[in-house]
Amino acid sequence: MSYPRLIVLALVGLLVGAVGEWASVVNGQHAVIAGVDLAVGLTYLTAGLVAMRRRPGNRIGMLMTAFALAWFIGAWGNVSVAREFGEVPVYGFDQVRVVIWFDALNQAVLVHLILAFPSGRLSSLASRLVVTAAYANVLILGLARAATLDFFGAGAADARFQGVLGLYPDFELANSLHRAYEAAGIGVLLAVVAILLRRWRAATPAARRALAPLWLAGMAFAVSITLAAPSIVGGATPSTTEVVCCTGGLGYPGDSYLEVPERVREVLFWLARGGQILVPIAFLFGLLRMRLDRMSVSDFVLELGEGPPPGRVRDALAIALRDPSLALAFWARETGGYVDAAGSSVELPGPESGRAVTVLERQGQPVVAILHDPALDEHKELIRALGTVAALAFENEQLRAELQAQLDEVRASRSRIIEAGDAERRKVERDLHDGAQQRLVTLTLALQMARGELAEDVDPRLATALQEATDELRLALTELRELARGIHPAILTEDGLGPALASLAARCVVPATVQSAPQRRFSPTVEATAYFVVSEALTNVGKHARASRVDISVGVHDGRMIVEVADDGVGGARPERGTGLRGIADRVAALGGRLECSSPPEQGTRVVAQIPCA
């Protein structure tokens, strides 16, 4: 709302209030009470105007402004007693009756305000009914009561006081109507209390936080009025009672049936005023706290700056907004839908679900939807502020997730490459044994047979040539066997890690002992990797360590195979400089494991590989 309109509203409110209260004082109202009344009204007016300015989309501001005006109009009842102004009445009794008709309007508006806080909407059927009842009570029963009110008793001499609304002055009827009016007022108040209690019980912490001050104020007000006296309740506001009092208690029906000590009445009066003045203050406090919550944005930024672990953004947001039920749904570009942190598809809740949704966008694209308590709807700006900060973090998390997915894929493919390589090596080894080696052995046999066919007195050169061929064949077989072994030892495939490591240890030039090795079998890739770790480590021990002994141990802990090769040699190994151990380390890493080498000078070398084997 623009400033000029607000200023006009403010001036109108001020004028209405000032005139009403001035009239009250002139008519004998205690100046302090009039001052307090003015203060109550002006507090509402101020809070309402501020709210209309700051939160134009919210009806609360309007309701508070409306309350202020209704409140002041109640005071105008006092203006009506024109006799004090001699023969120059400011208003006639028709107007008094109009005022009396509407004197409880402020109560209905207050009920509306309390039940609509903080969203400005009446969300439940119960609250809509109660508010409707409150207005109906004022408009219908109030009119009926005002119409039948016998202001100065039946047959009042001064016809001037029998105005338009006093068409049917009837003491008994007015009395009954007034009792009904009172009862309806009490009913409305009790319903308000019940609704507030129920909401409080069902409310999330975020909602309680938003509503607490207002509800406390509202309930204090309602309770104080309810307790005060039916006559007060019936009159709906003390103003009316005061009107009656000021007008000399002329036949006001409520006075007769409940005796309330003056002192109690006074206390209750102040309680009621205090409660009323708390309501707009509570709302102002709410506005003020919006500022405080903006401070929590900076806390939030700092928190995110710490480098939140995955999923932490949600938690930080939940803390900043104090809504533990807060959930996030990420926009998935590929599927064009929302997914949760685990990647499962998520449907955004509809308007009837009791959940509110705030969608954050970047460059016209949804980034993330925040699913939160509807009570936070009032804090949409705050959510957006936090969300904008969070959007960056979300994108970070998204990138991180994508990166993680890619990394997982790379790891998986690396592991598959190793597996495929191993399978290929096994096949080559087998082909060598069953193919080339077998053929060479058969060839050896053929040479033997050829030699056997020859007579004893064969040309010695031929005999020598045959022998040389046989010797060459044997060498070839030996080399081929070692080659096949280097490619992939058959004993590993056939008998497993323990025998294969024992075989490796037996071939080591430094005395090597297998201290422990698992009996069970593992995947070929895990076995081969462990084998090559030991093989490479032993080769290095033989070449560089100048060790007198080396121990090999293999164990399984928590789904990881721990392969350890430790010697008592000179140490000082630099694995990063040799290609052998580095290649093995790559192989171990490809399976998601780790290879460490510690080799302090003169303290031996220890190679430890951890290979996932679950």
Binding site: T442, Q448, R481, A484, A502
Partner: protein, 214 residues
Amino acid sequence: MRVVLAEDSVLFREGLARLLQGAGFDVVGQVGDAERLLALVRTSRPDVAVVDIRMPPAHTNEGLVAARTIRQEAPGVGVLILSQYVEAEHAMRLIADGADGLGYVLKDRVSNLAQFAEFVRQVGEGGSVIDPAVVSLMLSRSRTRGPLDDLTAREHDVLALMAEGRSNQAIGERLFLSPKTVETHVGSIFSKLGLLPAPDDHRRVLAVLTYIRS
């Protein structure tokens, strides 16, 4: 001496059969897999079965498994395993329950017909043969302290050569010792290893096993 052959390569099997026949063996049957080998051994009761370690269906260690079955079903039948690789583990497993009438040699040994025939004969006679390459591999192994630590360096050498399947005569020639001295060393080895007098070949095998297992 009656011999059966189990080897899935027909070419190799036929050639080996001819060579063994030429060397004076009576080759009474040839088969291509372990199952038929067991049937053949049951019906023909040979002195020795020469068995390829890798046979159908899986081509891994069917020969070893068959050898164990033969040892149980027909203890009098010797089994000579032919292997493509030098694996002490295979030899150890083969002789785990006793080494009599068992042998484990590299297939390449057929390149020396005289040596190979001797292997077959030893196993056929209830002796035990372990390929020299396997033995030397085992000998190079590190050992924890055991009965062998009581042996002198010279006795060690003698035992190592015994393990390679050499006779006292050959050991003496190798170490430049008189046969008498070698015999003394062998006797000392036996007593230090706690081997009671028995047919010498048997004690030799046990001494070698002690050596290998240590």
